[in-house]
């Protein structure tokens, strides 16, 4: 008898736990949390920067922002799972700039029009505003901007007996990729002739990702997508792209660029003094300091240009943007917080901690550039050479296919075959969106 009672109780309690677990977050419950105020929730990898700004926001408004931290590479997948089930788990959505269009097409984001005046919207850099706008509606406000910069290891260059007057390079007169490759080869030949120390010549921070790799083709005059956004045929298989890809693959084969090393590892290689040059983002300056490097150890200069394409330099731009979940129960509060974090005082708190470049030229203050001097270059690039990534609702498919192509090229794939297959994959995805 006792056994029967226990087993029935176990079964019932298990079902109860399951059923209660299936309930939605907001079902019948008051979402308000902080002393009668509302609580907003966000998933982010910039937890420290958000926490500081959110603290101030709560003091001023009584609205609490609950921050859930995750790794940078998990944000996209996690949000996809949560938002596709129309969950009200997060009120605020962190979207990588080019993903905005995809999120809007899936109905994940709420328009921000009523939370920003025209003047406020226009204060953002035009390319960032473009990334956050879909069908003339503003959906994602930029937290900041990014840029690509060349970093060099002073100690390794010194050990290799290479002296370069870096001050001669400016935005108008940059070091060329060809010159840089010569320097890298010379340095590696001196520092690690038999390859036993594992020292690389040049590393790419976001290797095999469209954010950085496409810039090689863009810097030779190649575009990212057709002007109407409906195809990549004739675009990413153009001569400019072929030249850029062949150049990169040749240098991987020669061992100047690495193979089989992830983006994160390339950063670590630079911090560990295993890499002479690293082409990475402007905010990497703060990561270098976090890794206990000082300005005695490393320096930086403008992203190189290709010989014969000096006036076509294309640098990275765009960064994470903030939007309001279409499934949030606190849309108004979330919209106001987005304004605070991107246009208001919150952005002034957020930028120095995150190391991100500002979302508009007007925000480049002395205080900011003092904290991250690389931002001086970022400011120049944002105003002169920033190149927007493809704007398309199929950006996820576009990005995945092209990243695979760049990685395959790195691993020695046939260039024509890789391009053909990538064009087919992306155009097939674009076709589905075009139909709808």
């Amino acid at each position: 008898m006792k056994r029967q009672v226990i087993s029935v109780l176990m079964g019932v309690s298990l079902l109860a736990v399951m059923v209660s677990g299936c309930g939605k977050k907001g079902d019948g419950a008051d979402d308000g949390g902080s002393e009668g105020g509302k609580t907003l929730k966000i998933l982010t990898h910039y937890d420290a920067a958000f926490a500081e700004a959110a603290k101030k926001y709560e003091e001023e408004t009584g609205v609490k922002v609950e921050i859930e931290q995750t790794a940078y590479e998990n944000i996209g997948d996690t949000l996809e799972v949560v938002l596709s089930s129309q969950s009200d788990e997060y009120d605020l959505i962190m979207a990588d700039g080019p993903n905005t269009s995809a999120y809007v097409s899936r109905g994940y984001l709420e328009p921000l029009t009523e939370y920003f005046t025209e003047e406020e919207k226009e204060s953002f850099s035009p390319e960032l505003l473009k990334q956050g706008t879909v069908n003339d509606e503003f959906y994602a406000a930029p937290l900041g901007d990014s840029s690509t910069v060349l970093y060099y290891n002073k100690n390794l260059l010194k050990q290799a007996g290479i002296e370069v007057d870096w001050s001669q390079y400016t935005g108008e007169s940059r070091i060329t990729w060809e010159e840089l490759v010569d320097l890298a080869k010379k340095a590696v030949a001196e520092l690690d002739p038999d390859g036993s120390k594992g020292i690389y010549g040049i590393e790419i921070g976001q290797v095999s990702s469209v954010y950085q790799m496409n810039l090689l083709a863009n810097s030779m005059g190649g575009k990212n997508i057709s002007d109407d956004g409906k195809t990549v045929k004739g675009v990413i298989d153009s001569d400019e792209w072929k030249d850029a890809i062949a150049w990169y693959q040749g240098l991987v084969e020669e061992g100047v660029f690495s193979k089989g090393v992830s983006g994160l590892e390339t950063y670590n290689n630079f911090y560990a003094g295993k890499c002479v040059f690293e082409w990475m983002t402007a905010d990497s300056y703060t990561f270098c300091l976090d890794a206990d490097l000082t300005e005695e150890d490393f320096g930086w200069t403008y992203q190189p240009c290709f010989e014969g394409h000096e006036d076509e330099v294309a640098t990275g731009c765009g960064n994470w943007a903030l939007g309001v979940s279409a499934f949030s129960n606190n849309k108004e509060e979330a919209g106001k917080f987005v304004n605070y974090m991107t246009y208001g005082e919150g952005n002034d708190i957020f930028l120095p901690i995150s190391g991100m470049g500002p979302n508009t030229s007007a925000r480049y203050t002395d205080e900011l550039t003092e904290k991250n001097p690389v931002l001086e270059i970022a400011k120049y690039e944002a105003e002169n050479t920033a190149f927007v990534r493809a704007v398309t609702p199929a950006f996820n498919e576009y990005s995945a296919a092209l990243s695979t192509m760049w990685e395959d090229i790195r691993n020695g794939a046939d260039i024509e075959e890789a391009m053909e297959s990538t064009v087919e994959q992306i155009d097939s995805a674009l076709g589905e969106y075009n139909e709808s």
Partner: protein
Amino acid sequence: MKQSSAKMKKRALPYCLLLPALAFVLVFKIYPLIYCFIQGFHYKGSWSLETFRVLFSNKGFWHSLWVTIKMNLVMTPLQIVLSFLMALLVNQAVRGIGAFRSLYYLPVTISMPVAAICWSLMLSVNNGLANSFIGSWFGIAPQGFFTDANQALWCIVALSTWKGCGYWMMFYLAGLKGIDTSVYEAAKIDGANALQTLWDITIPLVKKTTLFVMVADTSINILLFAPTQLITSGGPSDSTNVLMYEAYKQAFKYGSYEKGAATTCVLVVLILIIVFFQFKLTNQED
């Protein structure tokens, strides 16, 4: 009346005891499977076969299907044979055999992510242990392994086999232990040699174990996902882009749950077909 109530309670007891496990199976296995089929037969929110039409007209899908079949055609038989041989070895009554059993079983206790990271470091194209070894001992040029389109899939097969064989070995070991020793004694008296004993006695007597291992191993291998996700991301040149990874990409990277669900439906049907034939083949002689 009292008697029938007691009878009812007695009958209900097994169901009550089974309820927790059944509830878990229903919630975490059956419900998602049904939901997956429902989603797969939807296109843009309405009932339709269009998702399957789109899926079947995609070259990438057929390529993934081929990669999955190719991998399993090699991996499942390889694992079954190796597990059986390992079980035969550790079934010997020699001193210290327990230590060998533990050693063979050890890879099972390591989590797949940890194993994947260790193998990717070991087989790294840049001064990995394997390349250093084959270079210094045999003078062979560094191999791409996970970065080579011709080798990556087989490296995943090797990793999964290393990790999985110990597990299946334990089932075979239990099967071997269940064989009455008098059968072997009789065979010995009849003059059967080792090979004859193995072929005519051991293998037929562990047939039920083999059937279980075959079905379970096939299902697990067809759904193999972690090494692809953690090491190769389906590359190089889509050479490791198995269907399970394709389904994951469709659902969680491209936000197309319907295509992800349709891909999973194909996987389920594929498993059912293979398992059906496995049952047929192994029951033929019965």
